[in-house]
Symmetry: C2
Subunit: 324 residues, 2 copies
């Protein structure tokens, strides 16, 4: 049983996704005491979701032999854009029932403690920065390759937030003007090419358009191609899988170059499901980076993979709560 | 005659260009007391150039009825990239005789005061931020359209510097992969399309390739087309001038969008010779911005022109010296 102080100064980290909400309970040194995951069920509306969150937090601290009054601060990350400065989810693509929801106030009212509210990718970025792949640097940029491409920027040890907390939406960097339509409404975003979903989608489109590939059997059998399929077939020598991977790696390399010229980090960290592809992807990104980068000065930036996996978000949210 | 204190706390701002070095002498409230301009003559080498600079500063403070000992701090901006953190010009494209020059130390040794060393565009950016088009905001991005495209980023009132002071090289954002070759060695940089020089160059190339345009007469007569010629002929209805301007405006609009998604400033400020084109250019940039920007949230960013003209650099350098 944990040793009880009169006030334990627990930190709560919450990572809201379209499907699940992860919650972690940490001590003041950011040691994870206990974590849980609940379904988001965003369609039940903000009141119900927040209530469920509060119940889950209550259970979590009780299971660690504490009570809600032992919580000193909480952090929450949600998909952007939102008015993070004002603490309001304005209009979430993943959670259409959430419109003008004062999420920070609702949570801090329920928990009776200060709450930090930030973009889900910023929160995961900060987690990797304090406890994962960002160790030992002061300036890093983070990309998470999933349905979309989330990003975070740490400059001189602090998250770069911008005027309403929507800085670092780097997945929406336009690199192919008038190119593929992105979910955001822009054309030619990196995300429209190189997210896990769009890597898979480009492969599907190519197979459907008649390009020869061992991926055709996957499409016929499963009705879809995933980014994992692309990398699996790359490893067995499929030419289309190589072409699709090259396009993804090139788009990500150009994103790295543009990012380097924007905030000049020491390290760029990739996270998300797609990094399971491993070195075969990472090395292609580095190859394109070296091929496309300027010649004015030698760059020593490190490009690597994240190390915390799915816990990055809850750790980062708790770390932001601690730092506020 | 100026009122003399025992120590006047003067600030010196120095703006080094390939052709001229501008120097300003400011009081502690950043009021310009006197300014001067000397030729750079970079080929005479760093020792000679620094000596000439020191003599010019000595003259400048004397003419304001002060002496070198009245200087409390100085700031200097030079074209990048350099190791701004270490205070060293490593390898300057405009000044090939300057290799591994410890410019900050040389100046602070000569002036017996602390010296701040930064990128020329950062310095001009900071000048506009404190005394020009950036008034009233905390987060701004600055672009100067000349031979190249210089840039500066202010985040929460401070210049974003990156790990060796080479952040905000946003002119080298790649927006057309495998596109036009940039002086930096990359392909498809915004600079390769939308700097003043490259706007003029694209017009020249088009005329030489046989495109019909009233600019042909200019090329035949002057042996070259300038960006000013392009905007002059745009105003008189030349179709090629319109096409060239549209391409420039579109590249700059995409740069604005990518910048918004990187650091989310309140205001983007354009400076440099090319803004003489006036509203005809600014409005095209805004049109393309509104056409190409995402639909996820309404953006209220302001895009405008700089107001300080050529003094931005010396004001910014002095302001950085004051703030250090």
């Amino acid at each position: 049983m944990a040793i009880r102080n009169s006030m334990a100064n627990l930190l709560i980290g919450i990572d809201v996704g379209g499907t699940n909400i992860k919650i972690g309970c940490f001590d003041t040194r950011l040691k994870l005491l206990k974590k849980t995951s609940i379904t988001t069920d965003a369609n039940t509306g903000p009141q119900a979701v927040v209530k469920k969150m509060l119940t889950a937090i209550d259970d979590l601290v009780r299971e660690s032999s504490f009570t809600l009054s032992d919580i000193s601060a909480a952090g929450i990350g949600t998909p952007g854009p939102a008015d993070y400065k004002a603490g309001i989810i304005i209009n979430s693509t993943n959670m259409p029932a959430f419109k003008n929801v004062p999420i920070r106030q609702m949570l801090s009212g329920g928990l009776h403690c200060p709450v930090v509210f930030d973009n889900d990718a910023n929160v995961a970025c900060f987690g990797e920065f304090v406890a994962g792949a960002g160790k030992g640097v002061t300036d890093m940029v983070f990309f998470t390759l999933g349905t979309g491409i989330g990003a975070g920027i740490v400059s001189e040890g602090k998250l770069l937030r911008g005027i309403s907390g929507n800085a670092a939406e780097l997945g929406h960097t336009i690199i192919y003007p008038d190119g593929r339509l992105c979910n955001c409404g822009q054309k030619g975003c990196v995300e429209a090419y190189a997210s896990a979903s769009n890597t898979a989608k480009r492969a599907t489109e190519a197979v459907e358009a008649g390009e020869k590939s061992s991926l055709k059997k996957v499409l016929d059998k499963n009705g879809q191609i995933t980014s994992k399929d692309v990398y699996d077939h790359l490893k067995t020598g499929d030419k289309l899988a190589k072409k699709i991977t090259d396009e993804t790696a090139k788009a990500l390399a150009i994103l790295c170059i543009n990012t380097l010229h924007a905030t000049e980090p020491q390290r760029i960290v990739f996270a998300g499901g797609m990094i399971a592809a491993g070195d075969i992807l990472l090395n292609r990104i580095k190859d394109y980076f070296n091929q496309q980068i300027w010649k004015l000065k030698k760059e020593t930036i490190e490009i690597c993979f994240a190390t915390l996996g799915e816990d990055a978000g809850i750790i980062g949210a708790a770390a932001l709560a601690k730092n506020q």
